[in-house]
Symmetry: C2
Subunit: 465 residues, 2 copies
C-alpha cells in the first residue's frame, strides 16, 4: 500500500502537467464526422501515439479507410507472461461543436473555471467525451511508470477516432488484428459515475433487436364510405397486434420472450435499492409520474434488468391536415426489443414474427424488414473477480461503495469486443450527468479528472496483484 | 295510361334532338375547379337557363361568389296550389379531364360509339356526371309539356355549377332563398342504377362524424434505451385505445354507440338478399376475401345499414428510413364514424371522447380536434309514398323491380336539403358502375339517357296522380 500512496502522490504532483496535456489535446478539433477536420483527427492521433511512445509503449498509428487508430503496447519489465493482459479503450474524436453561439468560451480553447458553487470545471469540446476520460488511465500509467519504471499489468491501449461517427472501421480492424488485440478483458473509459461522490461500474447493458412491420389489407386505399364495414383496415389490425404485445401487468406476451431472463440477484437488488434514485424525479423530469413498465419492478430494474417491446414509430393512411375518408391499403410500425440476460435476438425476432403473423386475418398480409441481426445484452457478473477488484479500488479512492449499475441502452464497442475478440468489458468512467456531452459548454469536472487518474492508479495496482 | 304512352312516344321521337342538346352542353368545358373555365361555366348555365325559359319555365341565372346557379320554376296550368311541388337537382359543372392522353376522343367533343358488345355509349366529360343525368328529367318535362302543354306537378329546377369543387356557395344560397326553394321533396339525379337492367332508388345514405386524437406521454421524445420500460409510450396507449373500439364480433364497443340504430326491416333485408350481389366479388376486387364488419351481417348490410368506427390515419414517432430508438412524446389518429338510422353525431362524438379518455393513463394527456359537428344519416323510409310511387314508375319502364338500395357514403346535397330546406330527397339516377366518372373516357350509355328520360316521364305522371 505504501507504494500505491507514492504513485498517487506522483499523480497528484503531476496534475498540472496532466491538465496541460488534456488541454493540448482538446485544442485539436478532431471532429470525425466532418471531412474538413481529417488532418486534425490525424494530428490528435499522432499526439496520443507520440505521448505513449515517450512513456515507454510501443505505439503506432494504424490507418483505416477512415481515421487512424492508435494502438500501443506495454510489456512490464521482468514479468512477461506472468501478469494479466488488459486492453484499455477510449476515443480521440469529438462531436461537432454546433451551435457555436451557445458556448460561453470557444469549444476548442479549453478553459478551467471555478463556478459559484466552488466546483472547478474544465470546459471544451471533448474534455469529457472522451479525451479527459481516456487520459485518466494514461496519466495513471504515467504515474506508475514514473514511480516504478513499469506497469503492474501487461497493457494494450486502443484509442479510436471514429466513435462519434458510428465506428465504421472498428469491427474490420478488430477482425484483422484479433491476435494482437485479444486480452483477458477490456477496460472502457467512456461512462459516468453514479453521482459526484459515488463511483460506478456499469455491469449491465441491454441488447437490442429491431423489426419493422407492414400490414397490407386492401389492394389500394379505399373510400371509407363505400367500403367501411366489410373491408379490413390495416391500421386496426396493426393496433390490435401492438395492443396484444403486453398484458395488463406490462409483461410482454410473446411466447418464449422471457427465455434467458433471470430474476435480479438479491444482493444486486439490495444494492440498487440503496442508490439514491428517485423514481418520481426520474419520471417527473420527462413529464410523467406513473411507471409504465412491468408491475412490481422498480424503475431501475425496469431500465437496467428487464427487457422491453417498444414501438418507436407508427404510420398509415392519411396523416395530413383535415380529413380524408380512406381505409388505407397499408399500415406500418417500427419496433425495438431491448434485451437482457441470455435472451437471444434471433429467437426473439422469430418469436415476435410468429406472434404477429397470428394476429393478421388470412386475407391480409404482414411483411417484416429488419436492419440487422440485433445483439444480445452485455452483462458481466457483479461477483466476477475483475469487478470485485475494480470496485474495491474505486471504493478506496472515493471512500464509499462503488455502485454496480446498469444502462438501458447499448454501447456497441462492448458488443464488438465480446463478439470479435471474445473478451468482457469493464466500464469505468468519471463523467457526470451534467457534463453536456454532444452539447454546447461540454465540461469535465476537475475532480473527475483528478480522482479518475487516482482511481486508475489504484485499479492498476489491484489488477496486478 | 294512354296519355303516358303518348308522352313516352313523344320523348322517343325527340331522342335525337335530346341527344343534340346533351352534346351541345358537353361541348362547353364547364370545369368549375379551374378559374380558366369561369366563362365556360357561365355559358353552360346560360344555355340551361335559356332552354328552360323556352320550355315555359321562369328561369334565371343567380350569381354567387363562385359560379352561378340556374333556378327555374314551372307553375302547372289550371292546377295552382292543388299539386305537389318538387325540386329537381343536378349540376352543370364537370371534373377536369386530365390526363388528356388517356382519352380515345377529346373530352369536350362528345361522340356516340357502338361497342363490340353492341352497346351504344355517349363519350365525353360530363355525359354521365351530371349533364346527361339531369337532362333526363328536363327532356322528360319537355315531352310532357309538348304533349299536354303543362306538367303534372309544380316543379322547381336547381342546377348548380360547383358540385365538383365542393359546392361552397350552395348552403348560403339555400339559406338566402329558403322560401323559394323549399318544396315537398327533392329529386336528385346523380346516382346509379343497380345494374344496366335494374333501376334503383337510393334510400339510405350513411352520416358521418369525424375526430382526431393526439395522445401525449413524455414531455419530449425519449431514448428508448434510457427510458424503455418505465416511460409511457403514446403509440402503445393509442394502439390499445383503438384496439378496444371493436369487440371480437366487429361491434363497436363505445357505450351508447348503437342508440338509434334499428334492425333492418325484414322486407328490406329480403329485397337486398335478392339483389345479385356477390360479397366475394366485391371484396376480391379490392384484394380481400373475409368480410371484416359485424359478424352475422351481409356485406350490403354492413355498408348500407350499419355504423362504423374507422381509423383513417395514424402517425407517431420515427417514420423515416432505418431506425430511431425513440419513445415519442406524441401519437395521433384520425377517425371517422359512419352513422345510420337516428344516431346523433354529437352524442357519438361525446361518447367516443369519454371512452377514449378512460383508456389514457393519468400522467398522459389526450386531446381531440374535430373539423365539424358531423351529420346524421339521410334515410327515407322504403315504405314512404314517394318511394313507392317512384319505384313503381321505374318498374313500369324497366320491367323489373326497382332496387331500393343504400350507399355507404354521404351525398352532401341531401344533407343540405334536409338541414336548410327541411325536405327529403329521392335519389334516382341512371348511371352505371363503369361510367368512368372523374376519369378519362367518361361515358353514359345511350340506354341510360333514353330510358332515364322515359323513366322521368313515368315518375312525373305518378307524382301528379
Amino acid at each position: 500500500m505504501t507504494r500505491i500512496d507514492d504513485i498517487l502522490s506522483t499523480a497528484d504532483k503531476g496534475l498540472e502537467r496532466s491538465l496541460d496535456r488534456l488541454f493540448d489535446l482538446v485544442r485539436i478539433p478532431s471532429i470525425s464526422t466532418d471531412p474538413a477536420y481529417k488532418a486534425d483527427c490525424r494530428r490528435a492521433a499522432e499526439r496520443v501515439a507520440a505521448d505513449l511512445e515517450a512513456l515507454g509503449f510501443s505505439a503506432s498509428l494504424r490507418d483505416t479507410p477512415g481515421h487512424p487508430m492508435v494502438v500501443a503496447h506495454f510489456e512490464p519489465k521482468d514479468k512477461a507472461g506472468k501478469v494479466p493482459h488488459f486492453l484499455f479503450y477510449g476515443h480521440y474524436d469529438v462531436q461537432p461543436p454546433d451551435p457555436l453561439d451557445k458556448w460561453t468560451t470557444p469549444p476548442f480553447e479549453p478553459e478551467k473555471r471555478t463556478g459559484k458553487d466552488g466546483v472547478v470545471r474544465l470546459y471544451g469540446r471533448g474534455t469529457a467525451d472522451d479525451k479527459g476520460q481516456f487520459l485518466t488511465f494514461i496519466e495513471a500509467m504515467r504515474a506508475w511508470i514514473a514511480e516504478t519504471g513499469t506497469l503492474p499489468v501487461k497493457a494494450t491501449i486502443l484509442i479510436e477516432g471514429e466513435e462519434e461517427s458510428g465506428s465504421p472501421s472498428l469491427v474490420p480492424f478488430l477482425k484483422e488484428n484479433r491476435a494482437e488485440l485479444s486480452c483477458d478483458a477490456a477496460f472502457v473509459c467512456d461512462t459516468n459515475m453514479w453521482d459526484e461522490k459515488t463511483p460506478a461500474i456499469t455491469t449491465r447493458l441491454r441488447g437490442m433487436v429491431k423489426d419493422e412491420i407492414t400490414i397490407t389489407g386492401p389492394r389500394v386505399d379505399l373510400h371509407s364510405g363505400a367500403y367501411g364495414g366489410p373491408a379490413a383496415n390495416p391500421i386496426r389490425i396493426l393496433s390490435k397486434l401492438l395492443s396484444k404485445l403486453h398484458d395488463k401487468n406490462g409483461k410482454v406476451t410473446i411466447p418464449g420472450f422471457y427465455d434467458g431472463v433471470s430474476d435480479l440477484p438479491k444482493d444486486v437488488k439490495a444494492q440498487w435499492g440503496k442508490l439514491k434514485f428517485s423514481d418520481k424525479k426520474f419520471l417527473k423530469e420527462v413529464g410523467l409520474s406513473v411507471p409504465a413498465g412491468e408491475k412490481g419492478k422498480s424503475v431501475l430494474e425496469q431500465v437496467w434488468a428487464r427487457p422491453t417491446a417498444e414501438v418507436n414509430g407508427i404510420w398509415g393512411g392519411y396523416t395530413g391536415a383535415g380529413t380524408k375518408t380512406v381505409i388505407p391499403s397499408q399500415a406500418h410500425a417500427k419496433l425495438t426489443f431491448r434485451l437482457v440476460g441470455k435472451q437471444n435476438p434471433q429467437k426473439i425476432q422469430k418469436a415476435f414474427r410468429a406472434f404477429a403473423k397470428a394476429q393478421v386475418p388470412k386475407d391480409c398480409r404482414i411483411e417484416f424488414s429488419s436492419s440487422g441481426p440485433g445483439s444480445p445484452a452485455s452483462e458481466i457478473a457483479e461477483t466476477s473477480p475483475l469487478i470485485r477488484k475494480s470496485a474495491a479500488a474505486l471504493k478506496d479512492e472515493f471512500g464509499r461503495n462503488t455502485a454496480l449499475i446498469g444502462s438501458g441502452g447499448s454501447i456497441p464497442i462492448v458488443r464488438y469486443f465480446k463478439d470479435v475478440l471474445g473478451m468482457d468489458s469493464v466500464l469505468i468512467g468519471f463523467g457526470l450527468n451534467d457534463d453536456a456531452l454532444h452539447s454546447p459548454n461540454e465540461k469535465y469536472n476537475l475532480s473527475s479528472f483528478h480522482r479518475g487518474i487516482r482511481s486508475w492508479v489504484r485499479v492498476l495496482g489491484a489488477l496486478g496483484r
